[in-house]
């Protein structure tokens, strides 16, 4: 009806949650996450300053550590036309072997996995579930893929890789679906159950690859680590020296996962159900949709994304899984920050994964120039900025409020 402004329009005195969400998606879809990140880096900079270091120089060093400057190094380069001796002038950096290029591949490797663990959290979110179990599902996938990848030597490479990835996804899906099943049947909260399952995966892995464990290295019995993935189980690499962790084709698999995520949510009946349950379970139930069944489906799909992440890491560059790897890994947890910052959308998760991938790599002791910022503090800088982002993501209502006032003043 004519007359009133559309509900949720800026300046409504008391917007409902739904109106606020609608408005948020129209007005702040990209603005708020950007603002969140800027705010987090600003606050992080203040802490760097407090430790007696120059925040601008530190951030420059972090930037250099990410390898992303590789894209911005223009100059006079030339490339050789394949099969000839002719050189062609090229303004883009053609140095694919330098330090910047190396750092870039490492950032890309981290981004690859973070996309998967981010999607694992995001998909469940869209069904109204908070999947804290990305870490456990990732480890489960890694365990299964290292077991498959290191067995059956001599299988055709394509089949071996496919099998290792597929079984890892099934394993990740199973452990996550179990949490969904418990939620659907007895109402056990998924936050609690997925955290518990994380520990189950953690200790199962520690047992399997620990000394004397059933999957421990068969040649070197003193090291708590798995067998190495056979040649046929490895993902092909395409950039860098394989001895020094080259960039593997898993990157394209996880980019494909982004597309699958988007398609599933927006173009399939399953995605329709999942979103309906996520927005309003009562209305979904009334519509004839089984809420409990969708909890199981959504968790299974979430878990398969995390399991895929585990498989890609193992088959792409790690090739082995040790007890120590399992115990220090936190890439599944960073996935939570990726999903939240990426607003649980495909594009958002992709960009947020790149941000966190770059951040983790840029602040690693390997990436960060130790003359600028002490390496022993560098890891904490990542954790801090990550925590600040999470903190400020929760503050988007506040940002909206400021935005509303600004709009009102413009009237």
């Amino acid at each position: 009806m004519a007359g009133e402004p559309p509900a949720g329009g800026p300046g409504d005195p008391v917007p409902t949650v739904a109106e606020r969400l609608a408005f948020y998606q129209r007005a702040g879809g990209i603005v708020t996450p950007l603002f969140t990140v800027v705010l987090a880096f600003f606050a992080g900079g203040l802490v760097v300053l407090a430790t007696g270091h120059n925040p601008l120089r530190t951030y420059k060093a972090v930037w250099d550590g990410t390898g992303l400057q590789w894209f911005f190094t223009f100059g006079h380069y030339h490339i050789t036309i394949p099969g000839t001796h002719h050189h062609v002038f090229f303004w883009w950096n053609t140095d694919t072997n330098g330090l910047a290029a190396y750092n870039l591949t490492q950032t890309a490797i981290l981004t690859t996995t973070l996309i998967c663990t981010g999607l694992a959290v995001a998909f469940a979110f869209r069904c109204g579930l908070f999947n804290i179990g990305g870490q456990g599902q990732y480890i489960t996938g890694a365990i299964v893929s290292v077991w498959v990848g290191s067995s059956w030597a001599g299988m055709a490479q394509g089949l071996h890789v496919f099998l290792a990835i597929a079984l890892a996804m099934v394993a990740g899906a199973s452990i996550a679906a179990f949490a969904g099943f418990l939620k659907a049947t007895v109402g056990a909260h998924e936050v609690i159950t997925t955290i518990m399952l994380n520990w189950i995966a953690y200790w199962t892995g520690s047992f399997l690859f620990g000394r004397g464990g059933p999957l421990q290295n068969s040649t070197d019995v003193s090291v708590p680590i798995s067998n190495t993935v056979t040649k046929s189980g490895m993902l092909p690499t395409f950039w860098g020296n394989p001895e020094l962790q080259a960039l593997h084709v898993g990157l394209f698999i996880s980019l494909g996962a982004l597309v699958v995520f988007w398609l599933t949510l927006n173009r399939t009946t399953l995605g329709y159900q999942v979103r309906a349950v996520g927005f309003n379970p009562e209305a979904a139930r009334y519509g004839g949709i089984s809420v409990g069944r969708n909890y199981v489906y959504a968790m299974a799909i979430s878990g398969s994304f995390a399991g895929l992440g585990g498989a890609i890491d193992i088959l792409g560059w790690q090739y082995q899984l040790g007890v120590l790897d399992i115990q220090v890994s936190n890439i599944g947890f960073i996935g939570i920050a990726v999903a939240l910052l990426g607003r649980n959308t495909a594009v958002g998760v992709g960009l947020a994964a790149l941000l966190f991938g770059a951040l983790v790599n840029g602040t690693s002791t390997r990436g960060l120039d130790s003359n600028v910022f002490p390496p022993q503090l560098a890891g904490n800088l990542t954790l801090m900025i990550q925590a600040l982002v999470l903190l400020f993501v929760g503050a988007d209502v506040l940002i909206l409020y400021v935005w509303n006032i600004r709009k009102k003043l413009h009237r």
Binding site: A2, L21, A283, Y286
Partner: protein, 511 residues
């Protein structure tokens, strides 16, 4: 009030534009001392915008506000309060865990030595006010423990405590029971007797005629007229509001009932707290008739409907649709067997507010051809179907891609009805289908329900509104404490129904 009394408040030529719409178009409004002036209009007519301008929440694009003849500018609620204007919103702004007195003095607390809250002074002042205006309220009670009607009184007291002499009430009866509404009107009469002036926003004709001295009608942002209550009738007000003749009571020929399509036998249902709230209900609804279940809210209607639409299990009894036993079947099974259900709460259940309208109209059939095949959605078909239905049911305020949350209540309800009716159900359950709607939309819903009856559907209407029941039903059942306590023909008097609804004539029941 005599014509010569000068207005305490005057709005002149108020215009407010929002992107795409003119919410208020040169609206004039004046309020005299000691009167109740009703502001009447359909949802979206611009009533709330006008009052938000007066209360300092919006800035008008044009026009001026005069208080006691002097122009003032209102740029925030604080200034409005300082100017003696108080507003009671539809949604109360109270803190549940604090007491009545604490809520009333909030942000203007009496203090001892400037810092310590003077609780006894606060309570004394609240008690004085309550006595002056004949409120019955305990200043010590916590907000969470008192009824909605009492919470509303706390809001009014809040305004009085801040020395308001002009009170704006935004649809105050929407949340009240009929009894509470009568009490509110008594309070308002006391207030104007004490010299206060009240602006009463509403879209309910009967209460406007009961309480208002004068009525200003808005339609699509423009003022239609200001008239005094004398000589106004519900029909004349409805015509002014909607801009055309409105049938307040739908005309319907007698129904021609056919075979029984919905049969409920001795159904018992337990609610969430484990109490048996439906205790052995039986009835039949035949094709081509409207069976209405009347009753005061909370007598088991909600749980009964849930049980006959697959949303809640019954602990005993039998439900069958078209001869097929569907006792405790899933919601999906009910949908597949031709049951349409207009739920009582369109926000909680009827719509996914974050979905587009097109996504909402396929809520039951999204997985079926032509909307999907092999697990993939056919968005083109879904949007085309949404567009067709919205046009057919005259849904305004958005297109098929608009989010459901952006529509007014009446249009949201039209979307729900469009979805349920277009599935060609054999049985149509309509639970409080006109709750919160204005006269134009109510007319639409009523006409549609009668049309559905004439199409040969079995219509079950569950309503709290006696007028609605009397105007639509072919047969009337009264539910009281989970049991059917009587069956009445449509010609029954309101009094007789009212008595049955409160458990009065159980002895004479013949269910």
């Amino acid at each position: 009030m005599a014509e010569s009394t000068p207005p305490v408040l005057e709005l002149r030529g108020i215009t407010k534009r929002f992107p795409g719409v003119v919410a208020n178009d040169h609206v004039d409004f004046d309020l005299r001392k000691g009167e109740v002036h009703a502001l009447l209009g359909e949802n979206g007519a611009g009533k709330s915008t006008l009052m938000n301008i007066l209360y300092g929440l919006y800035k008008p694009d044009e026009g001026e506000i005069l208080l006691n003849g002097k122009p003032i500018s209102m740029s925030s609620p604080h200034e409005a309060i300082a100017a003696g204007i108080g507003m009671v919103h539809q949604h109360f702004m109270l803190i549940p865990v604090m007491t009545v007195a604490e809520n009333i003095v909030l942000a203007a607390e009496p203090t001892k030595a400037g810092v310590v809250l003077d609780t006894s002074a606060a309570e004394r002042r609240v008690r004085e006010l309550a006595e002056q205006f004949k409120f019955h309220i305990d200043p010590h009670a916590r907000i969470q423990d008192i009824t909605v009607g009492q919470q509303q009184r706390v809001e009014i007291l809040k305004a009085l405590y801040r020395h308001a002499d002009i009170l704006i009430l935004d649809e105050p009866t929407a949340v009240l029971t009929p009894q509470e509404a009568i009490e509110l009107f008594d309070i308002l009469k006391n207030l104007v007797a004490e010299g206060m002036s009240v602006i009463f926003i509403s879209h309910k004709l009967n209460e406007v005629l009961e309480i208002a001295d004068r009525v200003t009608v808005l339609r699509r942002g423009k003022k239609v007229d200001t008239i005094s209550r004398e000589g106004a009738t519900e029909a004349s007000l409805a015509r002014m509001m909607v801009g055309r003749e409105v049938l307040l009571r739908v005309e319907k020929p007698p129904g021609t009932p056919g075979e029984t399509l919905l049969e409920v036998e001795n159904v018992h249902v337990v609610d969430d707290r484990g109490l048996e709230v439906v205790r052995g209900v039986s009835f039949k609804v035949r094709a081509g008739e409207i069976l209405a279940i009347a009753g005061v809210d909370g007598n088991g209607q909600t749980e009964l409907i849930d049980a006959i639409s697959g949303l809640r299990h019954s602990s005993d009894g039998r439900v069958s649709v078209g001869g097929r036993d569907l006792t405790n079947a899933s919601a999906y099974a009910f949908l597949q067997n031709g049951v349409g259900h207009i739920p009582e709460d369109r926000h909680r259940r009827g719509l996914v507010l974050e979905f587009s309208l097109a996504e909402n109209v396929v809520l039951h059939d999204y997985a079926k051809a032509p909307f999907a095949s092999k697990g993939f959605l056919h968005l083109g078909q879904i949007f085309a179907y949404g567009k067709k239905l919205l046009a057919e049911f005259d849904v305004r305020g958005g297109n098929e891609r608009t989010r459901a949350s952006a529509l007014s209540g009446g249009n949201q309800q039209k979307v729900v009805i469009a979805r349920e009716v277009s599935r060609d159900p054999r049985v149509l359950i309509a639970a409080q289908p006109t709750r919160g709607l204005d006269v134009g939309a109510i007319e639409f819903v009523h006409r549609r329900l009668v049309e559905e009856r004439d199409e040969g559907r079995a219509v079950l209407l569950v309503s709290l509104e006696l007028e609605e029941v009397l105007s639509l039903a072919d047969r009337i059942l009264v539910i009281y404490e989970g049991q059917i306590v009587g069956e009445f023909p449509p010609g029954v008097s309101e009094e007789e129904l009212g008595i049955a609804m409160t458990g009065g004539t159980r002895a004479g029941a013949a269910a």
